[in-house]
């Protein structure tokens, strides 16, 4: 096996029955190797060249200047006759793939064949083209994954007019470099931010510092009691469906089957949280971010559990600190219990007398018991309303005037009557 000093590998001229040859290096230490693996030439045991009639070709993966997404696999060194024949040949997709077959090298396998578990794996989809520079290019339908090895098999006997030639296929493994990146993503915050939750806590929000991958977050979360024992199935198993669109926030619902009264799961296993106990939510740092890197550090949130909260929200208990007209001071709303962080941000606002929203900066503080609005324009004197949408909830899912669990026989007609609630106030 002698790749030429110019980096060009000549096609083998051994009889075809010897089968394809693979790379001269093992794939075991592949990750370390890949960072330097921009151009790989195929290996073969016999020297070809013009005297044998075999093309002297180079196989490489080429990254354009604008980034790896446009990377293609190139076969250079084809003879003018071969190029002309290919241009004239009108090869079908299957014929192109027989000539130049690109396959994924299966992970965690040493055989490097395009088979896995006895299944024959199809070649990577893409298009083939011959450039004006005489290079045959394979452009994948989807960008090559950085760091992933791809097997490239070039079989000159599928060049038009060379069907009867005794030339071995050339096989190379190529990969785009995968930059080594230090993990930087962390769990920023968890809501509720307080350290005391009701026994019937409905959900948690995990905020990350950077976008995360689309995986089932429950695989990386555990809830442990004071003795470090894992709580059995506390969360609703809903896979990947509770990410926000930016993949910065993950919602974790406690399994309602264990939260709601009367359910078999609740009655048999009890609620996942028990009053008086202390728990720790543990975030596994192997949770991959959107770049595939683990979290920078593990994260834990410790909290104690108070009694179940089955009381509807009552806006009559809210206290407003009203600023003076002409100022840009905050309007501060104090609420006697913590509310759901996400809904609190979205479902509370201020309207003026004409029903126009007052724009400004909303802040949530004091463990989600305080909502404030700093207006972008000074307050004008007049009548205003604090508006709370009916979707607003406390930590246990209780809404304004409606508990999470209500007696349908007593209240069936009043569950959805109002869409918003208002608290009037005056700026003087």
């Amino acid at each position: 096996m002698r790749p030429s000093s110019s980096g060009v590998t000549r096609a083998c001229t051994r009889p075809r029955h010897t089968g394809p040859r693979t790379l001269p290096f093992p794939l075991g230490p592949l990750p370390a190797l890949l960072s330097a693996l921009l151009v790989v030439t195929a290996a073969c045991s016999g020297l070809g060249g013009p005297d044998t009639g075999a093309p002297a070709v180079e196989i490489r993966i080429q990254t354009p200047a604008d980034g790896p997404d446009g990377a293609s696999i190139e076969v250079a060194g084809l003879t003018a006759e071969d190029l002309a024949a290919l241009r004239a040949g009108g090869l079908s997709d299957d014929e192109w793939a027989e000539l130049l077959r690109v396959t994924v090298v299966p992970e965690d396998r040493d055989d490097r064949e395009d088979q896995a578990d006895g299944l024959e794996m199809p070649p990577v989809l893409g298009s083939y083209a011959i450039g004006d520079d005489g290079v045959l290019r394979f452009n994948p339908m989807f960008p090559f994954d950085p760091g992933r090895p791809y097997s490239v098999r070039f079989d000159p006997t599928h060049l038009p007019g060379r069907e009867s030639a005794a030339i071995d296929p050339m096989v190379a493994v190529v990969a785009l470099p995968k930059p080594d990146v230090e993990p930087t993503t962390v769990v920023d915050r968890i809501f509720p931010s307080g350290d005391r939750l009701p026994e019937n806590q409905l959900k948690l929000y995990l905020h990350f510092s950077a976008p995360m991958s689309n995986v089932d977050g429950l695989e990386y979360l555990s809830l442990r009691d004071a003795r470090g024992r894992a709580v059995e199935e506390p969360f609703l198993p809903l896979g990947t469906e509770f990410w926000d669109r930016d993949h910065l926030r993950y919602t974790v619902f406690f399994d309602p089957g264990r939260v709601k009264q009367g359910l078999e799961l609740n009655e048999r296993l009890g609620r996942p949280l028990l009053e008086g106990e202390t728990y720790t939510l543990v975030v596994d740092p192997t949770w991959p971010d959107a770049e595939g890197n683990p979290l920078q550090a593990p994260f834990e949130k410790r909290f104690t559990v108070g009694p179940a909260d089955t009381t509807p929200l009552d806006t009559a208990t809210w206290r407003l600190r009203v600023p003076a007209s002409g100022s840009t001071q905050r309007l501060v709303v104090s609420i006697p219990e913590p509310l759901d962080h996400a809904l609190m941000r979205r479902a509370i606002g201020v309207e003026d007398e004409a029903g126009r929203y007052v724009n400004g900066e909303v802040e949530i503080g004091n463990w989600e018991t305080r909502w404030s609005l700093t207006p972008s324009q000074p307050w004008a004197a007049g009548a205003y309303s604090l508006v709370a949408s009916s979707i607003l909830e406390d930590l246990a899912g209780n809404k304004i005037g409606t508990a999470f669990e209500i007696d349908v026989f007593a209240q069936v007609d009043d569950t959805t009557a109002r869409e918003r609630f208002t608290i009037p106030f005056e700026i003087r």
Binding site: P122, P123, D145, P288, V362, I391, D407, V412
Partner: protein, 365 residues
Amino acid sequence: MSLRKLFSLCALVALCAFFLTPQPAVSAAEGPTLMSGGPLTFGPDNVLFIADNTGAKIVALELGDRVSSGTSGTKDVPGIDQKIAALLGTDAREIQINDLAVSPTSSNAFISVSRGRGANATPVLLRVDGAGKIDVISLADVTYTTASLPNPPDANPGARRNPRASSITDMAYVDGQLFIAGLSNEEFSSKLRSVAYPFSTVSEGTSVEIWHAAHGAFETRSPVYTFVPYKIGGEQNLIAGYLCTPLVKFPIDNLQPGAKVMGTTIAELGNRNRPLDMIVYQKDGKDYLLMSNTSRGVMKIPTEHFGHQAGLTEPVPDGNQAGISYETIAQMTGVEQLDLLDDDHVIVIARNEAGQANLEAVMLP
């Protein structure tokens, strides 16, 4: 509190105006831009509805000849996840199969997947034909229309980007209406929506918020996860599988804006379980519901008593079944997706013990 009250199973359905905004038809030259590819369902005239949860919209793809340009039928494909991954140039762990729908025209299986799980995740629509050939359906020149699923109005318009997202979990088309079930990552309540198709001819749809009093006088909000349209005594109903177990029926005609409808829970299918997918089929002159579940296998449920099954009113001990009885199909394990292939077969994507996903046609039980 009496047992009757405690375990009266019913669903309370309320309706309100809904903000489903149809967009005008878009020219074929552009093709749709999907940010994600979720649930699929076929509509009339080779239209395939695909839910784009990240894009907060439903796209109606007018697939035309793309539905039937392959060999008709669907051939078994062992290791469908690995083969799709190989075609797309990645590893099976980077592939998420989101839904499966069989074309009523060609009986080809259409599969929506995500390629990649990170920032570069790409939605891909594939077709498996009767020869087992897997093709990527290019959407570049597909004529399409969309219906947006905007977030509910925000009481605080100055808030930063709203992180609330809806995740459509199932869709079904019946008699000119597309019904849509979804979850929210903020409110634990059900949204069952409907919009008329073609989208361009409607101004708005209706929204149905569903609560179910599944386990007693405690009326609680809970999402519908999967559902199927089914006629009971000539009346079109939706049979809905709720996240925490009961199977509920309610007549579509009752779902009028402003109305409140009590649905009827016709079966209690056991706890620690989530319905995944369901179809209706006929065998030996009888109708059955076939339903896949996360932890209780595939259930075959005769529908003949759906019409007169009284709402369940008694306790259901130890998470056992109640109401309509069902049979668990022992041969069907690991079923993650299913759709009706023909009169005798259901096509499933089932994961074996080694974790390999297989696409296979199975005789209807």
